[in-house]
């Protein structure tokens, strides 16, 4: 390390005297270190356990999402029947669909099912199904051809079926199968875009205002914070710090994954502002203003718990990554209560701010595919030490609200 000047008599004497100095620490310090290390290991174990719970919870959610999806995907001409068994000893059902009735434009389908048994000397069953009555037309016929599992079908009937069939599906069903009417076609899912406003609800004044507000907070030092620390004798001269409510505004895109789950992502601008006022010393006072500009990307998942025609309730879990655009600082100088001058500076904000948001929300449908929404929950801010002092530096956990409008635009 290069020194600033060569005349180092004073420093060299000090360095020599102090570099090798030894002072015996208290006898119990080693046991305190061991005790704290054990606690730290326990904390690590708890974190791992919490991560595991989170992972299993996420896996369960994914399982729920997958089980939400129908086994067969409906297309315009298909009928979907859930497969309940795959045993080859069970019946095979062939389902045919007729064309939609073009005359009256109805979307009702007539399903025709023919059931076969694959046992030797099988009894042939033909079941003519309609959407209203499965057992209305059942006929039995002996398998005379000797071809196992290759039933004879009345030629006229077969022709009729062939003419009407668009798609044919083979599904396996249990012996005690009761025909269920074909499910309604999957409802059309729409994705939406939206605008939203968000904020944190003030948790009230800090227990101790003044220097404690800064010294008990978790934040990173940029040049301004460093200068402020020295100018105010490590914040001791700060009398009061007051925050403006955080202001967030941005755009959202909401994509349905299944009937119950939606993915939401967005782009948000956030402004964090506060003012620190020094005590009056020798008739002089300074007011330091901070304005931090952030751009954030929230990515989250929503689970719709009540899906009404007009009102829909959901819970959401999202992760937000924010990058500081710039930090604007100003110092207003006062003497004997009179404003003297302002000193301004602007700095880069290094690092990123991560947070997780858990909320419950409500969406209220409006005409023209619009919907109003509001959600409230808790936001946990992580990696605060990488960021300049702001509201989030004081506490990690803040109540969070968001409101806005969504517009469902397309399939």
């Amino acid at each position: 390390m290069k020194k600033d000047n060569t005349e180092r008599t004073f420093e060299s004497i000090l360095s020599r005297k102090l570099a090798e100095a030894e002072i015996a620490p208290p006898d119990d310090l080693w046991s305190r270190i061991e005790h704290k290390r054990k606690n730290t290991r326990r904390l690590i174990f708890l974190r791992v356990a919490a991560t595991l719970v989170l992972f299993l919870g996420s896996a369960y959610l994914i399982h729920l999402m997958i089980s939400e999806s129908p086994i067969e995907t409906a297309s315009n001409n298909d009928t979907v029947i859930e497969v309940k068994s795959t045993s080859l000893k069970e019946q095979i059902l062939e389902i045919s669909e007729s064309q939609p009735n073009d005359d009256n434009g109805s979307e009702n389908m007539i399903a025709m099912a023919v059931a076969y048994e694959i046992q030797p000397e099988t009894e042939f069953k033909k079941i003519d199904l309609t959407t209203t009555n499965i057992s209305s037309d059942i006929t039995h016929a002996d398998n005379q051809s000797g071809n196992d599992g290759d039933p004879e079908i009345d030629e006229e009937e077969e022709q009729a079926v062939e003419n009407k069939t668009i798609n044919t599906k083979i599904v396996l069903l249990p012996d005690n199968f009761e025909y269920e009417l074909p499910k309604e076609k999957k409802s059309v899912q729409k994705w939406s875009v939206g605008l939203a406003y968000g904020s944190n609800i003030d948790r009230g004044p800090a227990a101790q205002n003044g220097p404690q507000r800064l010294t008990n907070s978790s934040f990173g030092f940029d040049e301004f914070q460093g200068e402020l620390a020295f100018e105010t004798v490590y914040f001791q001269q700060i009398e009061n710090t007051s925050f403006e409510p955080p202001f967030s505004i941005g755009a959202l895109v909401n994509l349905p994954i299944t009937n119950r789950f939606r993915l939401e992502a967005g782009l948000f601008y956030t402004l964090l502002a506060h003012e620190s006022r020094t005590m009056v010393i020798n008739n002089k006072q300074s007011v330091f203003n901070t304005r931090l500009h952030y751009l954030g990307i929230p990515v989250g998942i929503q689970w719709i718990i009540i899906n009404g025609r007009v009102i829909r309730f959901y819970v959401s879990q999202s992760l937000v990554i924010e990058k500081g655009l710039s930090a604007e600082y100003s110092a207003d100088r006062y003497e004997k209560g009179r404003f003297q001058k302002t000193e301004q500076s602007r700095e880069e904000i290094r690092g990123v701010q991560l947070s997780g948001n858990s909320s419950i929300g409500m969406e209220f449908s409006l005409p023209q595919n619009f919907a109003l929404f509001g959600q409230a929950g808790v936001q946990v801010y992580l990696m605060n030490k990488t960021q300049p002092f702001n509201l989030r530096s004081e506490h990690m956990i803040w109540p969070a609200v968001q409101t806005g409008i969504r517009w469902r635009i397309a399939n």
């Binding site: 390390m1 600033d4 004073f10 004497i13 000090l14 102090l18 310090l29 305190r32 020295f230 004798v233």
Partner: protein, 178 residues
């Protein structure tokens, strides 16, 4: 046991080796922490946290440099970090009264015992004390100190100049009492 063997045993989780490491360096490191802390209790906190970090970061030590120097760096950095978080100055105005044009007399420093010198440094306002330790004892230059403390080089210089004057005044008054 030599330094390298001690390090390897500690790395393997040998509890007795860890205790030996503590016994070997605790005295020197406590003296380092005492210089950065405002009092003995705070210095104990720094030392405790410093050793926890030493054991946690053992696997990051490359056996090329001095093990003691590596531990010392961790102690200094831990002290600086904890200073930022917790420390407050007891008297914000007091140091201003000590500003004078006097320069420290190396002769007086020679006469003082190490513990007396550390006790004097502990009385410095936090800003002075931190810059003073980093520059005069650890050997960092003002640019490096500025980067370490997130302050300008000029601030580091002015803090150091004030700290020297503060110390000179203290040394004079201590000498007069003798």
């Amino acid at each position: 046991m030599d330094e390298k063997q001690l390090f390897r045993d500690c790395l393997n989780g040998d509890r007795r080796a860890q205790k030996s490491l503590y016994d070997r360096y605790a005295g020197k490191m406590f003296a380092v922490c005492m210089r950065y802390a405002k009092d003995k209790t705070t210095a104990e906190d720094y030392l405790q946290e410093g050793f926890i970090r030493v054991f946690r970061k053992l696997n990051t030590f490359r056996e090329e440099g001095s093990f003691e120097g590596w531990i010392r760096t961790i102690m200094v950095n831990t002290s600086l970090e904890m200073l930022r978080k917790n420390d407050l100055l007891a008297d914000s105005d007091d140091y201003m009264r000590h500003i004078s044009l006097a320069q420290p007399d190396p002769g007086i420093i020679e006469q003082l015992h190490e513990k007396e010198l550390i006790a004097l440094i502990q009385q410095m306002p936090t800003g002075f004390r931190t810059v003073f330790n980093l520059y005069a004892i650890e050997g960092y230059n003002h640019k490096e100190i500025g980067e370490k403390l997130q302050i300008s080089e000029g601030t580091s210089k002015s803090q150091y100049a004030r700290a020297k004057i503060w110390l000179q005044n203290k040394l004079i008054s201590t000498n007069e009492k003798r």
